[in-house]
Every structure is written in C-alpha cells, then in structure tokens.
C-alpha cells in the first residue's frame, strides 16, 4: 500500500500552451513510459478499429482450416475450430479493454465514493466504511472474484463486475488516506471560511487532489484486471464464449496445442503479456511524474 499512499499537494495548474512541452519533457525523462504508451495505443487502436483491420469474423468456424498454421490467408493461423487467430486477438483487445476499463471504472467509482465519504466525514461513517473495506480486503481477491463470477453467472458484464468488486477496497483505502491529509490543508480551510458547503468542498477541492494517486492505481489495475480475467478463465469462470477472450484462448489451448499447434498458445499469451506490460510501463512513468516525492 505504501507505494501508492501518496501525500498529494494541490494540483498543478498547467497552462494550456505548456501541455505539449510538459509531455515532451516527461517523455524524454521516461523512455520506458513512452514505450508503454505506444503499446497501449496500439491495443486501443486495434480495439476501436477491429472491424476495419480484420478480414475474418472472429467467431466464424470452418472445419477446412482447423489448426491451419500461420500463412497468407490466416496471418497468425487458425484455432482448432478453424477460427482466425489474428481476428480473435484483435477483437479480443476489445474484450480485454472492456474488462480492464469496465472493472477499473466500477472499482474506482465505488472506491472513490467510499473513500471520500469515509475520509472526509470521519467519525462513525468512517468506522463503518472502514470495516466494510476491511472485510472485502481480508477475503482473497481471486476467491472473491471466483465466487462472484459463479454467483452472477457466465456473461461478459458479470465477469467485469466480479473483477471490479475486489478493486473497491483498494481504491477506497488510498482515496481515504489522501482525503485525511487534504482535509486539514490550508486551501480546504480557506474554502470553508468563505462558506462553501462541505459536499462542494469534498467534490471541488478534495477530489481533484486525490486524482494523482487514483490515476496511478487505475493504470495498475487495468493490467491486473486483464490478468485476473486470465486466471478466472484458467479456473473455468472467465469471459464466456462467444466473446474472444485472450485468457480463455490461452488457458484452453495451452494444454492441448502447445507443441502440436503452438500458434494457438503463443499469440494470445503474447497479447496478454504485452498489453499488461505496456500498462505497467506506462503506469510506472505516470507514478514517477505524478508522485511529488519522487520529483527531482
């Protein structure tokens, strides 16, 4: 937790004309972060323009090309059901992005709401919310996701919710600890002095200042969500057919085809690792930039 228990200062106000020079400056200082950003952009591009950059329908089966190796028609080969792997990976980017963004968004919204209320109001509200957070945190993440996935039933949106719920306590804790420090800051006192309502102070002044650590966690969770989905798939509870999920592609063919048709395993495996790697690189750089303590 310590890594993200960042004590934030007031948000820097960046003048509009300075944005590009700031980005250039940070990019030069964080070459790994740039690589991460590029990887992420590639996947986002693939997810958005999947319809235009693929030829085959990702769920179209074809017995004639079952297990076809990579070649002219099927660039990355075809799986055991004769589905084009390139198309499945491209469309899979959409699923992974939906899982990553969806669960991070849900996790952050609820986490921020809980953390902000808890930290800002304090008192018994804080006590109750902290117990809820403690409870959610003491149950192992994957177990929680596993039970949730089973309870909600096999569907894409349910998987997203199942992965999001364990993220809530994590976000809530970080937001709460930032809020606790911010509450006592002079600019909050000042706002109170001019008669601003507590709700407005929380939303207008405290919330924006928790954004820096939040962005850092959100990037980290993006990658973690993709990995959790893969683990759930391995245990038989990830995103179900017909959605092309990288996690299921990898976990289901890993056993059978790793030697006889390795392209079934290598490409989804590479897609997962690369996507998570990219978000991690980018997240690292973001943390360096946003964390005032590490700023030179």
């Amino acid at each position: 937790m310590a890594s993200i228990d960042i004590v934030p200062g007031p948000v820097d106000t960046v003048r509009a004309e300075g944005v590009w020079s700031q980005i250039r400056y940070h990019a030069a200082a964080h070459p790994l972060g740039v690589i991460g950003a590029v990887i992420m952009l590639v996947f986002v591009f693939a997810a958005i323009f999947a319809d235009f950059i693929t030829v085959f329908d990702p769920i179209r089966t074809n017995s004639l090309v079952s297990l076809a190796p990579p070649g002219h028609t099927h660039w990355l080969g075809a799986d055991n059901m004769g589905r084009d792997i390139y198309s499945r990976i491209v469309y899979g980017a959409r699923i992974s992005l939906a899982v990553g963004l969806g669960s991070t968004f849900i996790g952050c919204v609820f986490g921020v709401a809980l953390g902000l209320t808890s930290g800002y109001l304090g008192g018994w509200v804080d006590l109750v919310i902290q117990r809820i957070v403690d409870v959610l945190q003491a149950v192992p993440l994957l177990v929680l996701a596993l039970v949730m996935a089973a309870a909600l039933g096999p569907a894409l949106d349910n998987t997203i919710v199942a992965i999001a719920i364990p993220l809530i306590p994590y976000t809530a804790r970080v937001v709460r600890s930032s809020t606790l420090t911010l509450r006592e800051q002079p600019f909050v006192e000042a706002a109170r002095a001019v008669g601003m309502s507590e709700f407005r102070i929380a939303v207008r002044h405290v919330l924006p200042n928790t954004l820096a650590p939040l962005i850092v966690i959100a990037t980290a969770q993006l990658g973690a969500a993709i990995l959790t989905e893969a683990s759930l798939s391995f245990l038989g509870l990830g995103v179900p057919e017909p959605h092309p999920s990288w996690g299921r592609m990898l976990s289901e063919s890993a056993a059978e085809y790793v030697r006889t048709a390795p392209w079934l395993v290598i490409f989804p495996g590479a897609a997962i690792s690369l996507a998570v790697f990219g978000t991690n690189l980018f997240g690292d750089a973001l943390r360096d930039i946003l964390d005032p303590r590490l700023r030179n």
């Binding site: 117990r131 403690d134 959610l136 192992p140 994957l142 039970v147 309870a151 690292d284």
Partner: protein, 315 residues
C-alpha cells in the same frame, strides 16, 4: 499504545464478524447447492431424493438459522462435516494448511531474497542501463498470467530433466520436500519479488534524497555505508507493508500455482470446495484465511510502530 491495541483488537473481531456474514450469504446466493451438483452427473434431478438430502444436511432451514448453527458450532470448535467426503471439516482442512504455508513461506522468502537486493541496486544505480534491465525484468514478472508461467516451467523441466516436480505422492525427507516446493514457490514468488523490488527501489530513492543521508554523506561516510546502512534500514518499512498486502494477493497466485503444480494445499482445495458448494469447507476455510490476513495486517501495523517512531496513534 495499550488502548490503541485493545481498540484494534475489537475492530478486528468486528471485521471477522463481517467476513463471516459476507461469506455465508455469498455462498447461498451462488446458484446450485451440493445436492444439485451430486445429482448433476445422472442427467436428472430426483426431487424427492434431493429434498431428503437437503434436509439431512440442514439446507432446508432458513438462512439465519443455518448461520447461527454454523457460528454456534464454530464457537464450540465444531466445524461440521465436509459434504463431499463426509469427514469432519477440521480433518480435511488442517492437514492441508502446512502444505500451503510452506509454499507461501518459501515464495515470500524468494520474493525478499531477490526483491530487496535488486531493488537497492536498481535505486542506487538509478537510470543506468542496469536499472532499466532490472525494471523491465521485474515488470515482465508482473505481466505474465501465473498459470502460464507455471506451465512454461513444467514444460522446461520435462524437456531438460525428463521429470517434473509435481506432488504425485507426498515427498519423503526434508531435501525432497524442499526440491518439490521450491519450484512452484519460485513461480509464485517471481511476481511478489517483482513487487518487492519495485517498492524497495522507490522507497530507497526517496530515502536517499532525505536530509540525514545528505548529512551522513557530508560527514564523510563512505557511499557504500550510506547506501546499505542508513538507507536500507529505512526502506525496510514499506517492504514490511507490501508483505502484509501480498499475503492476501499471494492467495490468488497460490490457487493457480497449486492447480498447475498439483499441490494438495488449501488454496486449490478452496476452489474445489466452491465448485462442489461444500459450504462447511468454504466457510471455515475462508474464515481461517481471513483470520490469518487480519492478523498479518495487525502485526504489520505493530511492526510499523516499532520500526518507525514517527508514527503516532491518534485514532
């Protein structure tokens, strides 16, 4: 400090109560119970037999009554019987705990032995080639699905040694056991070591910039002694924290790794028990894990207090 401890202790109990309610209700929300699953293979559900079985297991009672029965039993030290094996739940759970504990312990050891020194090196040589290489390696450790890493390791073993370290029968002797556990422990620990390394690196960087280190340098302390003595001692703190967090995260890695390496520990057992809807096993096991997790967090807080006198206890 004393009153703080008492307060923390009661909050801990409150948390455990919350967990018991959560787990209990969640399990009953999950569709299907043991009877459904037991009848499933036959391709039909005999409603009369199912009702009889549910009655026998007390599943026909209202949820609140079932909860009170469970907690009452727990208070008396009676964990009930596994629905699947019909053996006492305690006999199913207890023997599996040391297996997972050994694995988790070795994994943490692996994480610290590799994570801390590499993190220190990476921080001291910040922005050097070595720093970049170490950071990329540690990030790749966080980027691979753990079952995939485990399978790759097993395949490499078959290829190069012609044998695989899986638990097909209980190992005899200390060295045999160590050999068997160390490979899956490394697979789990790889991820944790990456985390520990990153954390050590960032807290080292922070500490290295602080005033007293500058003072030490100014006073003529050698570079090495500053790095490894002053700085490392201060960097231990966040590492202790991450161990606390990792304890809960580790469980997820353990589930997958125990499945891949076929280790009969509690983590895989828990997943199987969820699949069977074996309530007595799942409930009690989750409670056990929660107690461990909550206690570790408690200890970490204490350790924090001991290691860092700057932390005050207000709330």
């Amino acid at each position: 400090m004393g009153s703080y401890l008492i307060r923390r202790f009661f909050l801990m109990l409150l948390t455990l109560f919350g967990i018991s309610v959560l787990v209990f209700t969640m399990l009953r929300v999950v569709p299907g119970n043991i009877a459904d699953i037991l009848f499933d293979a036959a391709g039909m559900i005999d409603t009369a037999e199912k009702a009889k079985l549910e009655k026998e297991l007390g599943l026909d009672q209202p949820i609140a009554v079932q909860y009170v029965q469970w907690i009452g039993g727990l208070a008396r030290g009676d964990l009930g019987y596994s629905y699947v094996s019909e053996k006492p739940a305690i006999d199913e759970i207890l023997p599996r705990i040391p297996i997972t504990a050994k694995l988790a312990g070795l994994a943490l050891l692996f994480a610290i032995v590799f994570g801390v020194p590499l993190g220190v090196i990476s921080a001291v040589k910040q922005n050097s080639g070595l720093d970049y290489v170490l950071r990329v390696i540690s990030l790749s450790g966080l980027s691979m699905p753990s079952f995939w890493l485990g399978l790759l390791i097993l395949m490499a073993f078959v290829k190069f040694f012609g044998t695989i370290p899986i638990y097909s029968n209980a190992p005899g002797g200390f060295w045999a056991a160590l050999g068997l556990y160390s490979v899956p422990a490394a697979a789990v620990g790889f991820r944790s070591s990456a985390l520990v390394m990153r954390l050590t690196r960032s807290s080292m960087l922070e500490v290295l910039r602080q005033d007293y280190i500058r003072t030490a340098r100014a006073k003529g302390a050698s570079e090495q002694s500053v790095n490894y003595h002053h700085a490392l001692r201060n960097a231990v703190l966040p590492v202790v924290t991450v161990i606390g967090i990792e304890a809960a995260f580790l469980m997820g890695g353990l589930i997958v790794t125990e499945t891949v390496f076929n280790i009969p520990g509690v983590a895989r057992f828990l997943v199987e028990a969820i699949r069977w809807r074996d309530y007595p096993i799942v409930q009690n096991l989750v409670m056990f894990i929660a107690v461990v997790a909550v206690s570790i967090n408690f200890l970490v807080d204490l350790l924090y207090a001991v290691l860092d006198p700057r932390i005050k206890y207000s709330g």
